[in-house]
């Protein structure tokens, strides 16, 4: 903790830094998050430190890049934890870490969809989320601070990476391949490029009794078609059992589309959203396989990662239903 206190002192210019709590938070299969309570020159601060896990997966940005994304979102008025500083102290962590303000609420998907007290009225919560997404989509290229982002890779960029992963790991999976081929044949042209959160879904926002407190986990953000984020949010795999509420298990599709259209001034193309929903099941299926591979390869032995592999059949099942 002395190294961490020294790192905070160096970043803030504070004379007296005392770390009073440093505790791993649940969740975060790709990155590690720690609750950090510190007293900085006598001022109490409730923070979160986010650092790289022992291994990473393709498509996930570095902590320095995620910090830049968080700053861009914060500046655009998106409800995110205020990003405070970026650290790189090799004596403390292997690689970069950043510190942000801690926000209240829960992100546990099953709890969010079941506990109607969270976020208040469900239609209102769906509308507020749509407004947050519309605000994220106000960030457009070119941006010098986000120059590390690849020009909109789109569905074909994902497919290229997915095939490379399957070939490199020797996976021969006809069900997934049928889905990937359908996505290739039916890929829509890119009409508009905005910043995508790329993992905007129930489970990745914090909510309390009053509403949304923060949009989390920006590590997959990148340029692309705004409908991709809407499709990801509405995909069956992120409804946490509340299948009738197609917008993230918390609202109707019309509540969500309507609020997004009012906030963004952009018409939602339902057919395009449905394509990206199919895409979502393939993309999550590939991410699940990549996660499982981190365990199988020995890079990070973990029961949590091994169990992610058990999601593959239900994602493949939904993918096949959508293309049949």
């Amino acid at each position: 903790m002395e190294r961490l206190a020294a790192s905070i002192a160096a970043a803030t210019g504070a004379r007296d830094v005392r770390v009073e709590r440093f505790e791993r938070l649940a969740g975060g299969a790709i990155q590690e998050n720690y609750a950090l309570d510190v007293r900085i020159d006598g001022r109490q601060e409730a923070l979160v430190l986010r650092k790289d896990a022992p291994s990473r997966i393709a498509g996930s940005c570095t902590r320095g890049e995620e910090f830049a994304l968080l700053r861009a979102a914060f500046a655009a008025g998106v409800r995110v934890p205020e990003p405070l500083w970026l650290g790189a102290d090799p004596a403390f962590a292997d690689g970069q870490f950043f510190v942000m303000r801690r926000c209240g609420g829960t992100a546990i998907g099953r709890r969010v969809v079941r506990d109607a007290a969270l976020g208040g009225d469900r239609a209102t919560l769906a509308a507020r989320l749509a407004e947050q997404l519309a605000r994220i989509h106000t960030i457009r290229p070119p941006r010098a601070d986000l120059a590390f982002l690849e020009p909109a890779p789109g569905a074909r960029g994902f497919l290229r990476d997915a095939y490379a992963f399957l070939d490199a790991t020797g996976r021969v999976e006809p069900a997934l391949e049928l889905g990937l081929r359908w996505l290739d044949v039916n890929a829509p042209s890119l009409q508009e490029t905005v910043l995508l959160h790329h993992d905007f879904r129930t489970g990745n926002y914090l909510v309390d009794e009053r509403g949304i407190t923060a949009i989390l986990d920006w590590e997959f953000a990148g340029w692309g078609d705004p409908h991709e984020d809407i499709g990801w949010f509405c995909a069956w795999c992120w409804r946490f059992g509340a299948d009738d509420l197609e917008a993230g298990g918390i609202g109707t599709r019309s509540d969500f589309y309507g609020a997004y259209e009012r906030a963004s001034g952009r018409r939602v193309d339902d057919e395009r959203v449905r394509y990206w929903e199919t895409f979502a099941h393939a993309r999550w299926g590939v991410i699940a396989r990549r996660q499982a591979e981190r365990h199988r390869s020995g890079a990070q032995r973990s029961l949590e990662l091994a169990l992610i592999a058990t999601l593959e059949p239900e994602l493949d099942d939904m993918l096949l239903r959508r293309i049949a």
């Binding site: 649940a26 021969v172 006809p174 391949e177 029961l303 592999a309 058990t310």
Partner: protein, 100 residues
């Protein structure tokens, strides 16, 4: 390689996870372990550990990627129904509730 679920490995990981936990374990860890053990038991019962790759899967995947099954027809239907059947066998191990 078409490794799917290795029941023995899941059991070992579950035991390692429990050994690292305080007594009683956190609810999160307890839920992970219970889920892992249930899947491991079903995987063993289904003798699923060796995977279910068909002998000509590589050729099928090559045909899919080449677009040979893009058009509606009996070949595409056969590939789809075989894929669905395999996925359902895997679901019976990982999450049988999804089959109901």
């Amino acid at each position: 390689m078409n490794e799917f679920i290795d029941g023995g490995e899941l059991r070992r990981l579950a035991q390692e996870t429990l050994a690292r936990e305080p007594d009683p374990p956190s609810r999160f860890a307890a839920a992970l372990v219970a889920n892992a053990l249930a899947i491991a038991d079903r995987a063993t019962a289904a003798a699923h550990d060796a995977g279910d790759a068909g002998s000509d899967d590589a050729a099928l995947v090559a045909a899919i990627r080449a677009g040979a099954l893009d058009a509606p027809g009996p070949e595409r239907e056969a590939a789809l129904s075989d894929a669905v059947a395999r996925v359902r066998r895997r679901l019976a191990v990982t999450n049988p509730a999804r089959l109901r």
